[in-house]
Subunit: 254 residues, 2 copies
């Protein structure tokens, strides 16, 4: 029996990245596509509580069909698993995102949040991103997504597994290999571009780039620079166990 | 010199929770308030990339002044630290949220995401939430926020410290104490309420409640039920270090 995969993303159901992913997965899997109607980048782990969600049928030029949801990536996975799919998928695959989800970006990532929803529900889940905003070569990333899903079918993995994969935007020949990476911690040097609108009112655009800091070689951003595909297992218990004792001593004096 | 505190929230600048917090902090601190213009609950760690941000002056009946931002809680902290404040605050305090930010809720929390932004920028940061949606007693939580901030001034703490505090909605006499808690992992039993709008179209409301699972006594939700205030140190490196070896063996075969 073919594996059954829920496919979603945060760039929206019309994005070329999800199309490349779907075409690859269709070679060996049965799929359901439930993805945002419009782009929902950098929405973090947002869910829609104050508005109702709407679901529309979507047809990609007769190649595949899906459902477009008026919400966030996390909404898509929630509504798929709890309202619109007839059975539980074997995997959730989210992507292929246009732009890396490495380092501190991970916490802002809609692509990752969709995969996190899958893992919370006990389904092995993968987020996959291409580390470029221009001239994307989605085929390499799509092929790797297919390869890793097939591996996870042949050698089943713990149901709460959540993998964050980033693929350099180079040709297959230039890929130097696959490495398990840790999330980097470089923050952003943020700037706000202050402008005046035609009515004379001030507005701001968020801009900026990552601060360069020394980080270990096995950090995602460093491996990507060396043309490795990175695979980072993630978890979603944010407790900082290393600080428990220090905080305990402190609150004892309150 | 008085400590300088950036105050924000996710319920919006007009919410009673931020007002109670501000009135308490003003007793000993200088503050700047930069908070969302409208409610931004469950936005996760969303940031606004595709729209400009606007900033408006806000005056709370002559009691305090602040800036209302047309974005998310994370946007508020970013724009405060990088565009609108004249100097770096000593603390970021986010809240008081109406509703708990315990267990899996932490990953959807705008309140926590604002504090996370502070910690990423190297400022000790606190998220504080009241575990109720009805008949909130903000005073107890506000008083505790004041107490812990004063403690952190007198005994300085690591700059990246991020504390997630939840306060039970009971009188001060009923509070049994303060405990360091770990984030619980119970997921939600989600349901979507399917309805038909006046034009005959289907829409869905997300609903549901936390699954009851057996968890250790030191989990936030369990301590809250026993009327303890919980303090959970958080971190934002999501790497699951426990799985690195297993994934390494797996990808070696790809």
């Amino acid at each position: 029996m073919k594996p059954y995969i829920l496919v979603t993303n945060d760039d929206g159901i019309q994005a070329p990245g999800i199309h490349a992913l779907i075409m690859e997965l269709l070679k060996f899997a049965e799929i359901s596509v439930v993805a945002p109607l419009v782009e929902k980048s950098a929405v973090g782990h947002a869910i829609t509580l104050s508005d109702p969600l709407r679901v529309e049928k979507f047809n990609k030029n007769g190649l595949w069909e899906g459902l477009a949801v008026s919400g966030t990536p996390a909404d898509c996975v929630k509504i798929a698993l709890n309202a619109v799919l007839n059975r539980k998928p074997d995997f959730v695959v989210s992507g292929i995102n246009l732009g890396s989800n490495t380092g501190i970006n991970v916490i802002y990532s809609g692509t990752v949040s969709a995969a996190t929803e899958g893992a919370i529900s006990g389904i092995p889940s993968i987020a996959i991103s291409l580390t470029t905003y221009t001239h994307p070569k989605f085929e390499v990333a799509a092929k790797f997504a297919g390869k890793i899903v097939k591996n996870l079918i042949e050698n089943p993995i713990e149901s709460k597994t959540l993998l964050n994969i980033n693929v350099p935007n180079v040709s297959e020949e230039e890929i130097r290999g696959v490495r398990v990476a840790r999330q980097g911690m470089a923050n952003f040097a943020e700037e706000f571009d202050k402008r005046i609108d035609p009515k004379g009112r001030t507005y701001y655009w968020l801009t900026g780039s990552k601060n360069k800091i020394e980080e270990p070689d096995d950090v995602d951003d460093n491996l990507i620079k060396e043309n490795f595909i990175t695979v980072t297992p993630l978890q979603f218990n944010l407790t900082d166990f290393s600080k428990v004792k220090a905080i305990e001593e402190r609150i004892a004096k309150l």
